[in-house]
């Protein structure tokens, strides 16, 4: 019993703190106010959890602290929102990406193994030059901004460009991909000889690229004619998928070469924060956007707000009645999404082979490698998974918080605080930390509304939301003083 208490003291301390805080809060607020504060806290906590879970998994497994996780969150939001509001940008860039990747894979059929490694640098330069030539004067910013601000009614030059030019650009990128692939393989021994069935993937990719190219405008119209719910689900999927692809690419290209220099990995991710933010500003503009809620969460009518969740399933009201106060139904969806992801990851970690490898890798990565498991591939997978979770969080947060280039940094800060509170590398810790920070933020926002009145004050003291946001750092400082490794972290 005592041993159990000692082992679980982080959990117990957390529970006691929550109970004490709950008792204070219940004397301060009436139950229905308290209920909506708690639900708001859960909403924020669920979003923070989507960021911290990936952060924590990545750190636990490969000791890389990804400072760009918030940026992935933000980029996920932008990708999802673009698909939801106007997919022109995505449809006009997707063929390029597909062609590039197809070319890269096709390079394996070149007799590249015979190329000496000295040819590597000129080949890289050639690949970059060909690639730049292929996309010369193809501007992304008008594709994104005019399409989004006009709801797709105003045509943009790039989207209207004749199909042959577009296809020529895509093929040019495919050639760039081939050269880059050759540069990558030059002087490399021990590459597996490609077989005929390996051709299937690049051919499909290239075919898709060539197929989308003439159908860009039709596809755009078709996607926009779908109902908002389907588009919303697609946005969640594509946003998360795009984020995962970006994360995987990032690990493979920038993090992997630096495993021998851990500090520099962190420096690279910090640089990516800068590059990602500037890139988003360049493509989507420095201003923010507002994403409309899908029909499931935006109905208004005589029955609204829905009296309970089951009634909401039929009338899809924008808000649900919680103890006599309306609460936005979309936030309930975010909470559900958070819980779903928590359970999903827990199941993945506990019951699958990949999860077993991840858990083993957190314990002792070298041993796992010694047992003959390709740890590098698992690293890339987990990085992609974490990035995908963050991006999913970004899409989910978009209708609720709005989209702006600064979105990532704000979430990064709160996610870091949550991770420090919960303990690095611990999945449960990430969840509890996110929950605590989310609740703290919700209470902070409430106090901003009403002000705080201590017994000796004649009138309530009020302050701005910035202070409420900054105050979570104080919780972090407290946890650092009492338990530097976090509530669930291992002692260093």
């Amino acid at each position: 019993m005592i041993e159990l208490i000692q082992r679980r003291r982080g959990l117990i301390a957390g529970i006691i703190a929550i109970i004490l805080f709950g008792m204070w809060a219940s004397t301060q607020y009436e139950p229905r106010v308290l209920a909506s504060i708690l639900l708001s806290g859960l909403t924020l906590g669920a979003l923070y959890f989507l960021v911290t879970s990936g952060l924590s998994l990545i750190f636990g497994l490969m000791d890389v602290l990804n400072f760009a996780h918030g940026t992935l969150f933000m980029i996920g939001a932008y990708i999802g929102f673009t698909l939801y509001a106007n997919p022109r940008l995505l449809l006009n860039t997707l063929p390029f990406g597909l062609a590039l990747v197809a070319g890269w894979i096709l390079a394996r059929w070149l007799p590249a193994n015979s190329l000496p490694s000295g040819h590597r640098r000129p080949l890289w330069v050639a690949a970059v030059l060909v690639g730049l030539f292929a996309i010369w004067n193809f501007e992304l910013a008008p594709l994104a901004t005019t399409a989004l601000s006009s709801g797709g009614r105003v045509p943009t030059e790039q989207a209207q460009a004749p199909t042959p030019i577009f296809i020529a650009r895509a093929l040019g990128l495919a050639v760039a991909g081939v050269i880059a692939g050759a540069a990558f393989l030059a002087g490399r021994e021990h590459t597996r000889r490609p077989e005929r069935r390996d051709l299937i993937v690049p051919i499909i990719l290239l075919a898709l690229a060539l197929l989308i190219a003439p159908l860009r405008l039709t596809l755009e119209e078709w996607l926009l004619s779908l109902d908002s719910n389907t588009r919303f689900l697609l946005a969640l999927l594509i946003g998360a998928g795009g984020g995962a692809a970006l994360g995987g690419l990032m690990e493979w290209s920038l993090i992997r070469p630096l495993y021998s220099r851990p500090i520099y990995q962190v420096l690279v991710t910090l640089g990516l924060v800068f590059v990602g933010t500037e890139l988003v500003k360049g493509v989507w503009g420095p201003g923010g956007y507002f994403m409309e809620l899908p029909a499931w969460f935006s109905q208004r009518g005589p029955n609204c707000p829905s009296p309970n969740l089951i009634a909401w399933l039929q009338d899809n009201c924008a808000s649900i009645d919680v103890l006599g106060r309306p609460f936005p139904s979309y936030r309930i969806f975010i909470i559900a999404l958070g819980i779903l992801m928590f359970v999903g990851i827990a199941v993945l970690l506990r019951y699958t082979r990949l999860g077993m490898i991840i858990r083993a890798g957190v314990q002792d990565g070298e041993m796992v490698q010694a047992l003959g498991i390709n740890v590098r591939r698992v690293f890339t997978l987990v990085f992609a998974l974490g990035a995908g979770l963050a991006a999913l969080g970004g899409v989910a947060a978009a209708p609720f918080l709005g989209i702006s280039p600064g979105l990532g940094q704000e979430f990064q800060l709160q996610a870091f605080i949550a991770v420090v509170i919960g303990g690095m590398g611990s999945f449960t810790g990430a969840a509890i930390g996110s929950l605590l920070v989310g609740l703290a933020r919700a209470f902070g926002d409430q106090i901003v509304l009403t002000g705080i009145q201590l017994p000796w004050m004649s009138e309530a003291m009020t302050f701005s939301p910035s202070i409420a946001r900054a105050s979570t750092v104080l919780i972090m400082a407290l946890v650092l003083l009492l338990r530097p490794a976090g509530l669930f972290g291992k002692k260093e």
Partner: protein, 341 residues
């Protein structure tokens, strides 16, 4: 004491001399008066380089000499800027007292941040310091303190004493910042070469061993943070005097990245390296801005990533690694050339 100066010391003295006569050289070359036009512009350019050089150097005392990776260095820089701004503008202090207050506040602040953050190490430290800096950033933006900090707009038109005004007395400001930079460099060199500095380096190389030898690692790390914090705060104060304002951006992540960039480009673990890096970054930023307009921060970020990937030791570090062999190669070529002639 008639000691012969080493070649590097001659180079240093030559550099200082060059910087002292620099405004007049430019004035001669362009034929414009020294306090107007092009010479004035280039004085301003170098003033910014000097300020950033001190900031980068202070960062390197932490990162290069003590092995502490901080992502919250903007906190010290920004606090210095805001302190001097608020004291001059709202409290009406004179400049000397305000700078003294900057030192005291930076001392207290770095001790508090150090004691809290040093409970964790490695990347955790980076994360925690980033959180503290972001807190300061949010507080600077908070509307509650608008009458003192000016919220999002920042502190505008700080009343800098007339004798050192960066607009009217540019040349004097130039020499004052040059002197400030030289003093800071000499101080930093004193710290780094002292026994304390040696212990810092021992901690960087192998903390456990330093502890086993009986050094209290926390104390030395705290000394490093304090020295570094005070230097950064003074640099921030000069930055506020130069720009005549202090806005929340000086507390933002961008400022920290800037320090990192200058330190890495110049070379980690040397005092000259970061100063050189400051010069490179300032001039590169200026040219990129001229040629590429608004998309230059993006290019800047890409260059930063490429440098981290391919040139991890920076200019000074790469020179130290390869310099000897390059020099030998050149000497050989020269000899061949002479033989042929």
């Amino acid at each position: 004491m008639r000691e012969r100066l080493k070649s590097s010391q001659w180079a240093g003295l030559g550099l200082i001399g060059g910087l002292v006569i620099f405004p007049f050289v430019i004035a001669l070359l362009t034929g414009q008066p020294v306090d107007a036009g092009v010479p004035k512009f280039w004085q301003g350019m170098l003033i910014q380089v000097f300020i950033l050089a001190v900031f980068a150097m202070s960062y390197d005392i932490l990162m290069g000499y003590t092995g502490i990776l901080s992502f919250g260095h903007a906190l010290f820089f920004g606090t210095g800027a805001y302190t001097v701004g608020i004291l001059l503008k709202h409290a009406g202090w004179d400049l000397g007292a305000a700078l003294l207050a900057v030192i005291v506040i930076a001392l207290v602040q770095s001790l508090i941040i150090g004691l809290l953050s040093l409970r964790v190490s490695g990347v955790y430290f980076a994360m925690v310091t980033l959180a503290f800096a972001q807190m300061a950033f949010l507080l600077a933006e908070a509307t509650d303190f608008r009458q003192w900090t000016g919220a999002e707009d920042g502190l505008q038109s700080i009343p800098v004493p007339a004798w050192i005004s960066p607009t009217n007395e540019r040349l004097r400001f130039y020499y004052v910042t040059l002197g400030f930079t030289i003093v800071m460099y000499l101080l930093a060199r004193q710290v780094v070469n002292s026994p304390t500095g040696k212990v810092m380096m021992a901690i960087r190389d192998n903390e456990t061993r330093a502890k086993v030898l009986g050094y209290h690692a926390l104390t030395f790390k705290l000394i490093a943070i304090t020295v570094s914090g005070i230097m950064a705060a003074l640099a921030g104060a000069f930055n506020a005097l130069w720009n005549l304002n202090a806005n929340p951006a000086v507390l933002g992540v961008g400022t920290t990245i800037n320090a990192l960039l200058m330190t890495i480009i110049g070379g980690v673990g040397s005092l000259i390296g970061p100063m050189l890096g400051a010069g490179v970054i300032q001039l590169l930023g200026y040219w990129l801005n001229v040629f590429f307009g608004p998309s230059w921060p993006l290019l800047f970020g890409i260059i930063y990533i490429l440098i981290v990937l391919f040139l991890p030791y920076g200019i000074i570090g790469t020179w130290r690694l390869r310099g000897a062999s390059w020099m030998a190669l050149w000497r050989k070529r020269l000899q061949e050339l002479r033989a042929r002639l």
